[in-house]
Symmetry: C2
Subunit: 690 residues, 2 copies
């Protein structure tokens, strides 16, 4: 084996998981290399082994208090910056590796990497994207870590509806300054990570007014908010901390109010619009909407990243859930003294394996989509064909708008299922599942609320549908091919499912056919529904609100899941894949597709694609695929699991020694009595009980 990999792809010690491992139909090491890629693998293990040796990253024996957690997270973020796992030159060469860095550190501790990213990287790309030369020196200061920043878009009263932000920035010609003001508490900037206790600077979005009183809409500024020597708030700035959250408590999300706070003219990030010394507004964009769109465009990178973060969480949870299920024995045949691992039960497989499939599907999807995204960025830098670029941009937006919601939900549901699948012991903090659930939950909300975001994909599809209706090709508008099948919509909508055996559903192509039907059917019915409502003289806003639940929402989901499948099939069709790996990946893809397709049953039957009995074979296929994947489940986990240090779970350790780890954990707590034991024995005051 490649010597670089020798230390990483080590055989596991014999133990409770050996039997499953020995029965696998493929070599987990090959799978590991195929699905993760060597570069990512090497980098991740370098990160984990480095941090494992660093006492700052040692697992906390008891849960830190909020205050302790904040300081620890700061120290970790600083340490991470020093380790510099992704130096600038590597980043340029292999930008996709950044996801691996974030995933590897995040699987260990989300707060520290989120904090670090927000302090420097996130703001640096915002300055690159929205600023001009005059902001380069700020970028340099950030790179040297002389200053640290936060990103302030959300206000107490507004999150999703960015256009309605109410913080104002009025230009004062006399002093050549912008005057920032927060009219009331609802207009306070909030939620910005690092704002509460760490940032010296901030990217702040505010409504720009020129001296003539004209409102030029939302603009971004890079401003200083705290003194870099004393760390006191600058006069005119009030900052608070948002306090305890459901998760990510190492990050200090803050709230900020301005009271006629003055910042230099140069603070405006002026790539898409500027104010002259004399107070005139100048912009290359004539249309306000387009300008805002262009400046918010830089944010869509965040969604691509969150899809990876969610994937990392799902991997962690499913590793714990499946390994524990292979060790945990409960019940057995009447005539036997040996109990079965709970993984042997159909129900346990049916609950967990679709999420195992989801983990693979998402790993593959986020890797390929990251590549698309990077190509788009390159093309933008090289100023390639602007028409094509606009199409790519719109399609990337449509894709990222389902990728973040679907992946964060899959992770959230998967973590919950794994928690329950581990029974009582899953409820122990040492299962490691609690923090995954808490931290992942935020992925459903930030960078665009999942439910609102999802509607964006449908909007894009509806635009394509109008082409279909006019019998024009959608090809120029789906350069990434995510909706290319709409060109065959007419014949797809006429097709009927002819499958009647469960085996036929083992073919991902069969599932893809069904999915493409579902998308076409939902798209047609959504367009019809909108037309019908508009015919009733309803405005577009109201009409859309009447079509959210059973039109927009399932449409976006079906479109997204279809692309998940398409990308997986691209991998399966790669002629270089070893046959054994292809076989198991095919089953995994089919299981993922089939389980999720069942949720679109109403579209499939209403559209006439499914006959009344078609779903029966599909259900049988799911049962059979579970059974088929059972011997491979542990090897599939081994190929994607983080290191034991990063996983940090008594139930999910790769040695399968669940009970030994639980015993070690509890040994430390074997004790005689609590400090306050005398209070337990307090003489009762009354003789009654509740």
């Amino acid at each position: 084996m490649d010597p670089e990999l020798q230390d990483i792809l080590k055989d596991f010690p014999p133990g409770p998981l050996s039997e499953y491992r020995n029965n696998a139909s493929f070599n987990w090491k090959d799978m590991c290399l195929l699905i993760q890629g060597k570069d990512a693998l090497v980098l991740k293990h370098k990160i984990w082994s480095t941090l494992e040796k660093d006492p700052v990253f040692a697992h906390c024996a008891t849960k830190p208090t909020l205050k302790e957690n904040r300081l620890l997270t700061l120290q970790r973020a600083q340490k991470l910056a020093e380790y510099n796992f992704m130096p600038a030159k590597n980043l340029l060469q292999k930008p996709e590796m950044l996801d691996s860095v974030v995933m590897a550190i995040g699987q260990l501790d989300w707060s520290s990497i989120v904090k670090l990213q927000l302090l420097y990287n996130f703001v640096i790309s915002a300055l690159y994207g929205m600023g001009t030369e005059r902001h380069f020196k700020e970028i340099q200061r950030l790179m040297r870590r002389e200053i640290g920043a936060c990103f302030c878009l959300t206000e107490i009263g507004h999150g999703t509806n960015t256009k309605a932000m109410r913080t104002t920035a009025k230009f004062d010609v006399k002093t050549q300054e912008f005057v920032f003001h927060t009219p009331d508490f609802q207009a306070a900037k909030c939620w910005a990570g690092n704002l509460g206790e760490t940032a010296t600077h901030a990217v702040v979005f505010a409504t720009l007014y020129t001296p003539d009183g004209e409102n030029h809409g939302l603009h971004a500024f890079f401003i200083q908010i705290r003194d870099t020597q004393t760390f006191e708030n600058l006069p005119g700035v009030s900052i608070g901390d948002m306090g305890e959250k459901l998760g990510l408590n190492g990050v200090d999300n803050g709230v900020m109010l301005f009271d006629q706070f003055r910042v230099p003219r140069a603070a405006l990030l002026n790539r898409t619009g500027d104010v002259s010394e004399s107070g005139l507004y100048v912009s290359p964009f004539k249309d306000k909407k387009k300008r805002l769109g262009a400046s918010l465009g830089t944010l869509s990178a965040g969604r691509v990243g969150i899809a990876s973060m969610a994937t990392a969480n799902l991997i962690k949870a499913i590793t714990v859930g499946i390994r524990y299920s292979a060790v945990r024995r409960q019940f057995g045949p009447e005539d036997s003294n040996v109990e079965l691992p709970v993984l042997e039960y159909q129900l346990q497989q049916w609950r967990l394996f679709p999420y195992l499939g989801a983990a693979y599907v998402l790993i593959n999807f986020t890797r390929t989509f990251r590549k698309d995204f990077i190509e788009m960025q390159m093309a933008m830098m090289n100023k390639e064909d602007p028409d094509r670029l606009a199409s790519v941009g719109a399609e990337v937006h449509a894709i990222s708008s389902f990728a973040k919601p679907l992946s964060s939900w899959l992770a959230q549901q998967g973590v919950q299922e794994c928690r329950e699948a581990c029974g009582g012991h899953g409820y122990l903090a040492v299962s490691g599942l609690g923090s995954v659930r808490e931290d992942n939950d935020a992925n459903c909300t930030y960078e665009g609320d999942n439910n609102v975001l999802l509607q964006q994909s449908a909007n894009w599809l509806l635009n394509l549908w109008s082409l279909v209706q006019r019998r024009q090709s959608v090809a120029p508008y789906t350069p990434l091919g995510s909706a290319i099948y709409l060109d065959s919509a007419e014949s797809i909508l006429k097709s009927k499912c002819k499958l009647d055996t469960s085996q036929q559903w083992f073919e991902p192509q069969a599932l893809l056919d069904a999915y493409q039907f579902a998308v076409c059917h939902l798209l047609r019915s959504t367009a019809n529904r909108m037309q019908q409502l508009m015919d009733q003289k309803m405005d577009a806003f109201t009409a859309k609100n009447q079509a959210q639940a059973y039109h927009y929402r399932p449409l976006s989901i079906a479109y997204g899941e279809t692309l998940f499948l398409m990308r997986m099939m691209r991998l399966l069709n790669d002629p270089n894949i070893p046959e054994q790996l292809r076989a198991v990946l095919k089953s995994l893809t089919a299981l993922f597709g089939a389980t999720n397709l069942m949720k679109h049953l109403s579209a499939l039957t209403q559209g006439g694609y499914f006959q009344s009995n078609t779903s029966a074979a599909l259900q049988t296929a799911i049962e059979q695929l579970c059974e088929k994947l059972k011997p491979d489940a542990i090897a599939l986990i081994d190929a994607v699991a983080p290191s034991d240090f990063a996983l940090n779970s008594a139930l999910g350790h790769s040695d399968g020694q669940v009970y030994r780890h639980l015993e070690e954990h509890m040994a430390s707590s074997m004790k005689t009595r609590p400090d306050w034991w005398q209070q337990v024995l307090l003489p009762p005051k009354k003789t009654s009980h509740l």
Copy 2:
């Protein structure tokens, strides 16, 4: 109004919720009395107003550490015992009021009431149920709170499979003692609440051996484990604390190992089996299985209680989710400056209202089922007709076996949906949703893992089905009527749904018809599937494992949801209900039924009840019912919401002043710099960044 209610059913101050309140189609106070009942209402408010004045129950400004939490919870439990909200004489008169006490305290703080219940009540009923006269003095000591106990069934290696417990208790004739021993760590007792740091005594389940070496199976003992003066472990007993959990951290779940630990002969809870002084085993039951069943039977009470606990959690979450959605405004029509409350969006309604429906359905269900349960207990005490009693017992078991899973899942999913529905602010600890999610999660696992438990209901149904197949009436075996419709299975299975307009689905009866079809179809197909597998010479255990996912599971769920509907219709058919209340309850029931029925689409189409297009009208009905319920949503919440003190949510307060409460919360954190501010500005060591 009834003077007792004047203080409880107060008008709300004008504010952001007024508009919705004014538009409601009914009087929330009438609904409150109808759905909760006057007695429960008065008792709950007495509890909340008492605790609100007690500093021990003041909300913690910062999250307590594990240690602080444990002590605080102990103090609260002791305080609750002193308040004695449910004195023994009331408990005898109105035993169903105990649920209200638990719900009211639990909505404020689950740990303290769980701790209290386990310390005394739970063990007292175990001693009543499994012990004899010789344990009365122990009951008295518990009632006087001289001692406190825990309940130790689960072991590290076994939870669900109780028969496989491995702690042993061997009788020693010489000393007339039982010798308790834990062979290894996997046999350690664990998870028992109060064991970690509080209990002096324990109900312990162990395998009983007589001196002749015979194994008599699992038996319960009441034994002392700590010195009541020094609180040290008794020699031969080691106790540990299980440490941090995902929730319920005020409760000290413990782990315990015995090393040849001796307890007096009288410790055996000997109602169903005893050991004579000479070491002979004597039991009124000949069949070991039956004896175990009888002694574990007392546990099913716990499930009835958990259904109420889950209901209390769901109510709390949905109160926050819906009130916040009515206040939170985001987006609006193009031509308007006013943004709409997010409750106006179809998607938000569709996400939340089914859980509002679930809250009502569960309140009604748990109330009526508690009555059935109490009647059964009375009948048992009065030793009524044993045949009927056996049938009632089996049916109660079948019902509690879905009631706990379905209610705890509805709560878990509902809390998650509400968390997301509140956007970013829902992720703040002050939303109150985090602790509900964490604490409720345990309800999915203890007192029987949800997934395993659910199979019990299906088992019972399959027994009835064999009667149906022999054309015998099931009536004698379903005295509570939960499955009485199986007597018409033949005609039900021949029926077809004839509805084609959405309005027809507004009738709960239409939904009930569809549900009964689904149950009959799933029952028939499960029985067929089992027959088919057994015909292949598969043993029953293995066959059942092959039919869990698409047979047992959906069957139990459909049966459960059908009973939810039936109980709701019993309420709707009560001629004394004011017409306005009936109307809105009917819509709520229909929405709950319709949303959940959609999950059984595969059974309905495969069985031929639904035509390919039937589900379209059902979906439209759901959209329309959401729209219809919108003006009533806030009043429906007002009728079930806990007091603001118990709710303790900045987002869900009854005054609707979301932003004021958020401001108050953050005002306390407006500050200049953290203690460790100098560390933030640490001079950077390298010039690179991640």
